[in-house]
Symmetry: C3
């Protein structure tokens, strides 16, 4: 891999290889290099989970983190993303992690920037590292994707997570179905829509999405209770899920809207496990990207991981 | 100790044990662990001193710091404190330090969060680590609390520091008196009010408070000079203090309001010593909390501190 | 050196010593101390390059970085710069790096603050570390300053970089000329003004400045194309530069305004090399300041650099 921008162009082999690496990376004891490697996190949109998760992953790999914050940067003086990225490369970043409100914005950088780029969410485009942590959570549960039934449910139209997961799950041979109120359906995705009631009964994985209020043009008049009853995961619907079926949600959860408050930490919820897995997949992606360019994040990393694989 | 939320429920023994630990912690040479421990600092109110002091304490203990800043987080997307805290726990924080504008907010977290919580200031509630550094400063000066006369002076009603110190000083056997203009008195505290002039003459410790402009409902019409003359520590009042008496202030100081500008760094002022002590008490509290759960912040920490104790 | 505040009072010997130190510092392998040294970065104005560059320099020296951000600090409660600086010193910072909108603001701190101060830009005053990286870039190119012709071009009146460079280049024996539209000329500088066309033809170093929109009182009515044609570095002007002449710009570049977009990364541009050099000069300045007070940033730093010098 040269960059990590999208789930669309990753092969089954590449995805599985990364998942296996992620699955063992947490057990690898990493002794950091004498000369530190720097990574720059450039977040042009608010984030807790993704940013902190990248930070933990990077520090656990022994890397130095350059925490770029838009509010106090030269972006205030009108500097372009390209020039900001080029600057961070010039002062020593070996890898750039970028979240940006504009779709496909990282594609523009591939020409001038020579270090690996990681897409941490580009507008309504993709969110491939979130997809990887969803996949790792499914993989740890079922140890396969082929034939697995996965429902992606909710605000599909505005969700970059839905898009990344739909591409990847198709590549991996899962059967994907979608469920959403009409105004939030996205006809460009090659999957059929089913009702919420059908979705919960037939699927192994119930993947809820967050309502992306911040990407909606107007305030939704529908109230929260209405939404939960019509399209959300109620206690009643949860009771009709298959015995072994699990619940995923990328969080932050709108409790009582997409899912009943009491189900967020229920037995079949993997919501906080997803977050834990976020650190592992990001460690795997970063170390793989650097390794593919001949750089090792830690003096002992390869040797140890070679043994444990 | 499971958490560090309030001075109210700490016993004399627990406080003294922490003060002794703090008193020697700066001299302990700490070699950090191979696998780093993470701490998350969640500050939902502005802070220089407390936040930076925690950061220094954490780094000196060899810990990795997750610096959560509200402005660029998912709190912007409406995420609750509980979900934010749970997230940071999930991605690997071994301890959470929280400052929040709402009183008692950490009590709500004790059910779902399993890692130790430290209260870094909750609204008008408490500020127990500030209290600990005040106590350490007094302890280093007088080597006792029993019978010591301490005056807490100023905006008592809006001060979480006053509350934490009043509880702790009582536990430790000090004689506490209060001094404040009528509108800033807090009748819930079981101590008597004296005039500023009485306070300065009879006390061993003159503990000034900051006027909490940001917690007042309306703008005070009184001007600064008036306040200093009526209720502040003027040069004239300072001259009537006991020979060995010391001045404390939690800072930031409103120079020329609570205290004459020239007294901030005078001989009996311990204001900057308090700040230095803030690092020591926070190192002690964090390492104690983790140790009480069987986690050691540094491979050599216990052994060395065992020797030096 | 006690502090690093201005290029005005540095001797030729001091500048050259720092440049040589910077030139070799990147090749020095630094093993950090067991007890970390803390540095506080206090930026009261937006910055990407300078702040990130200091951070990389500090981390590469093995130092712990206290990242003070105005937005979430007690400056919000009205704390003065002096008290903020004094606080950071009290909690353990061994050196303070300060950027501030007010000219000469660091001079006020020299009395009460005992640790070394570094000026990272003071209003329209100076920006001495930027000057040092410009000088290093020139030094690496020509290995001398004496007799070198340098043109400083653009918004001289509002530029702290121009001022620092003009002082230093004069000290070093370079021939400095200035070029600016009339309203941006600064008559206090003891150099003559030439036209842009003269400047590009006769100089070895074409040092462009950024238009400091944020320091202008009113919005400039002139459009960007006009500016480039009249006063900027067009492709046509670049073609008339001496063969060996180089282009410098402190960045962020207003592409297509001060310089044609396509020249930013052209062969004679050293713009991104300047950024790389920024890390080296800051490593040199910090380690020199600490060393001059008997503190070594790394256990092995001096020994190794003694050998390689």
């Amino acid at each position: 891999m040269e960059h990590f921008l999208s789930m669309k162009n990753l092969s089954e082999h590449e995805i599985i290889k990364l998942l296996k690496r992620a699955d063992q990376v947490e057990r690898t004891k990493i002794v950091s290099r004498e000369t530190p490697l720097f990574v720059a996190n450039l977040f042009f949109e608010p984030s807790t989970r993704t940013k902190m998760s990248f930070t933990v992953a990077e520090r656990r790999l022994g890397m130095e983190v350059l925490d770029f914050s838009q509010e106090s940067s030269s972006v205030q003086k009108g500097e372009s993303l390209y020039d900001t990225a080029k600057t961070l490369e010039a002062i020593g970043a070996s890898i750039l992690v970028i979240r940006h409100p504009m779709e496909n914005v990282l594609e523009q950088l591939k020409n001038g920037i020579t270090v690996p780029l990681i897409n941490a969410g580009d507008g309504k485009g993709e969110h491939p590292t979130q997809s990887m942590l969803d996949l790792l959570t499914i993989y740890q549960e079922f140890h396969r994707f082929n034939g697995l039934k996965v429902a992606i449910i909710g605000d599909i139209k505005h969700s970059r997570v839905a898009r990344s997961n739909a591409y990847a799950l198709q590549t991996l041979g899962a059967e994907v179905c979608l469920s959403a109120q009409e105004s939030w359906q996205d006809e460009s995705l090659p999957f059929s829509y089913v009702s919420m009631d059908e979705a919960v009964e037939m699927c192994d994985v119930v993947m809820l999405l967050r309502i992306q209020h911040e990407r909606h043009d107007s305030i939704q008049s529908r109230n929260s209770d209405d939404y939960l009853t019509s399209y959300g995961l109620t206690i009643e619907r949860e009771s009709r899920m298959k015995n072994h079926a699990i619940i995923l949600h990328p969080a932050p959860v709108n409790r009582g809207v997409e899912i009943d408050d009491s189900l967020v930490e229920c037995e079949r919820s993997r919501i906080f496990k997803q977050m834990r897995n976020g650190v592992a997949v990001r460690m795997a992606i970063i170390s793989q990207l650097l390794e593919d360019r001949g750089t090792h994040v830690a003096d002992n990393f390869n040797k140890r991981s070679a043994i444990s694989r």
